[in-house]
Amino acid sequence: MAALTKPKNLQDVAAPGRDGVGASPLRPDGILKVKGDFAYSSDLWHEDMLWGMALRSPHARARILSVDVSAALAQPGVYAVLTHEDIPGSKFYGLEIRDQPVLAIDEVRFHGEPIVIVAADHPETARRAIAKIVVEYDVLPSIGPVEALDPERYGYVHAPADYKAHAFGNIVHSQHIHHGDGDSAEVRALADVIVRGEYEVGMQDQAFLGPESGLAVPAEDGGIDLYIATQWLHVDRQQMCPVLGLPPEKVRLTLAGVGGAFGGREDISMQVHACLLAQHTGKPVKIVYNREESFFGHVHRHPATMVFEHGATRDGRLVFVKAEIVLDGGAYASTSPAVVGNAASLGIGPYVIPHAAVDATAVYTNNPPCGAMRGFGAVQMCFGYETQMDRLAAELGLDPVELRRMNAMEQGSVLPTGQVVDAPAPVAELLRRVKEMPLPEVENWRTADGPDVRELPGGLSNTTHGEGVVRGIGYAVGIKNVGFSEGFDDYSTARVRLEVIGGAPVALVHTAMAEVGQGGITVHAQIVRTELGVDQVTMAPADTRVGSAGSTSASRQTYMTGGAVKQAAEAVRAVVLARGRDRYGWAPAFAAGLRLAGGKALTAAGEVVADLVDLLGDEPVDETTEFRHRPTEAFDKVTGQGFGHVQYTFCAHRAVVDVDVELGLVKVIELAAAQDVGKAINPLAVVGQIHGGSTQGLGLAVMEEIIVRDGKVRNPSFTDYLIPTILDTPPMPVDVLELADAHAPYGLRGAGEAPTLSSTPAIVAAIRAATGLPLNRVPVRPEHLTGT
């Protein structure tokens, strides 16, 4: 066996930056990224490395009668062909429920489920080997979300004898919320107007650009080193160890460059497969999905069907809401239980409503597994309740923004879960701000030389010169939780080291946080500069040698790992100042009042009392701490009551669209947002999150859907699954509010997800305003507008 060392091309994100909290220093990885030198997980290379690949099911539901791998094994250049029988440990994994086979066992439950994995000397060799594997199937009718609710008739996605969950038939998880008197007859009698609507949200894909990929390197101690693009190193490892039959210390993960995530890397994809092949062959194995495999290789946003009833008084006060939500969880549980919790608890939106009855359920089906995607259960609901608010406004003859402002929650309001919102909740203010932004020019496509088709729906396809083009404006606002909820022990670990290098104080930050593009590493350096008063901050690679940072999801990393870095830096500062007590005889109270800035220790009044370099001396200070947000509680199973979420975050949008009503083509002219972020630790990055999230909401409004028919995915490519291009994406003015949350580090509020919620319903409201059509389903397609 060749000497197994570190792979080449692993980056060193070590460039020092500038500036503290509230500034917008440049990303420490920015230069590497623009030079093409940043090593993404798909760029890794190792001497003697093999390529791994999976054979995936062409059927949504089938019994596997036989698998013949002999021809594949016999092909020159093939080093391993593995089925579930070759797995040394547990054959299942899963984030919340371990129900997903690493490789299919006797049956397949979704189109694209992996059955066999191959390692070969070239990707083409692996592809040809895969083509030679013969699988005999007995194809069964697939179970969709409607059939799933009647298992007696249509059967079970998971046989009742198997693992968990089957006590409940095809139901993965459900949550009921009963608030006030629910939707009792007495409550209904209080409403002058009741509006009922049925809504549907299609299956959206995260469509991160960097495909699932990584490199597994067998180590001499019998363990594995995995270089991987993921959202949560430690929970990847937690799921991998039982399968590989290895203890945690022998499964070491290091974060490679991540090309976006948006929830799609919360579950593991090729991690275990690459490690199994590396274990089996004793050689490094790289797996890189192509785009088609990526569509099959990660979970998607849950499609939803929702029935809402809103009751209000004649003057526009909401009296009650009733909501019934079914989420298609697909073949395996993934994060469905938590998505259900969000859908139920956030299901009535950012409004004060005295009575509510909400039911949310996720079902097992033979559709692709669904799980985490930016907005996590709150996106679907926001489309439902915001459409209802518009319909109610129309019914009452009220301005839709006014109706929202009248019913908007604020600090001190009680949520349907009984939780009192104990931080700013500026819902009405965000709506006011977004409404007062200047509107874009009317008929902006007119020029002195005639219409500029690039500014019209249809664009360069030159489908109209302005005939049939109608403008519409729509508004929406949403509510999202931050951090892990429902009693989960949510924590993050950070290590900060401070020492003198070359005569200057230098800090090192080491966490396991997955930098997926959001800019967490920029923020960590800013925090350390602010807390320790040093210029130079370097980042150790994220890996499992330090404790868990939790997932880069739930808008939580700046709060949680940012909070952990702050706490570790404070611990370092305390040690440094204690040295001053020893060295200079400072009184404890005096030392406690000092701060560190500009490489010095200063009194509150700004008087320099020592140089940081002298305080530190030759001995580094190295502190590791765990940071937790205040505890939450599980929702009561029956009533849904409980202090379930640690923090709430709000964003409002105004969308302006032009619709070619004859052809059904939509051009979003402008998408304005106002969001409260508590404290913008890095304003440039915050605005970047709002732009990116808003654009993904635009995609869901008018373009993006994985089309599934009888369990088969019809459009697994960027040719057929369209995400917004620069031509589809309008100018997006952003107004950032900073109302501090006293419970959070620096008062910050997680920012990444809220903008993904309200952009979709705002755009659809604008299309409704232009067309007068009901539009109860997203994405809105041209045929929905033309009726053809």
Partner: protein
């Protein structure tokens, strides 16, 4: 087969190339230039954009054999040593880079645009970059970056003695 071509001005040779391999694969896996990205490998995302004889192309759609004796320019060739090209610097400064997976392709495409058009309008920028997907930024900061790069290049031209445009 063996393919001989020029990459970023350097004569380069790739051995044992299978005829189905793309230029993207050869760059990434055979000649040690993984800067060009592989987001779709079907001509839909632009992350693999490189110059081929001076024109931007999707390298995933170019068969390796087609580049025999031709000149390829990749993102790795944009900077002069440690000095970034104004387009690269503008992307960093404007916050146009988040995950950065779209960035190499966008840089090459923008570099080409600004060689052709010194003062592109917003509509021209959008048209030129319409084949390059970005999932993170919503393109607003990318627009800023292109405008910034154009302005800085114009300033540099104004400052330079006439005849030295570029």
């Amino acid at each position: 087969m063996k393919v001989t071509f020029t990459v970023n001005g350097r004569p380069t040779e790739a051995d044992d190339v299978w005829e189905g391999e793309s230029l993207l694969y050869v760059l990434r896996e055979r000649v040690g230039l993984p800067g060009s990205k592989n987001a779709c490998e079907q001509g839909e995302c632009g992350s693999c954009t490189v110059y081929l004889d001076g024109d931007p192309v999707c390298s995933c759609l170019v068969a390796a054999g087609q580049v025999q004796d031709r000149e390829v320019g990749t993102v790795e060739g944009l900077a002069q040593g440690d000095t970034l090209d104004p387009v690269q610097q503008a992307f960093v400064d404007a916050g146009a880079v988040q995950c950065g997976f779209c960035t190499p392709g966008l840089l090459v495409q923008t570099h080409d645009l600004l060689n052709r058009a010194h003062h592109p309008s917003d509509a021209e920028i959008r048209e030129a970059l319409s084949g390059n997907l970005c999932r993170c930024t919503g393109y607003e900061k990318i627009m800023d970056a292109v405008r910034l790069a154009a302005a800085r290049k114009a300033d540099a031209r104004d400052a330079a003695p006439t005849g030295l445009e570029g």
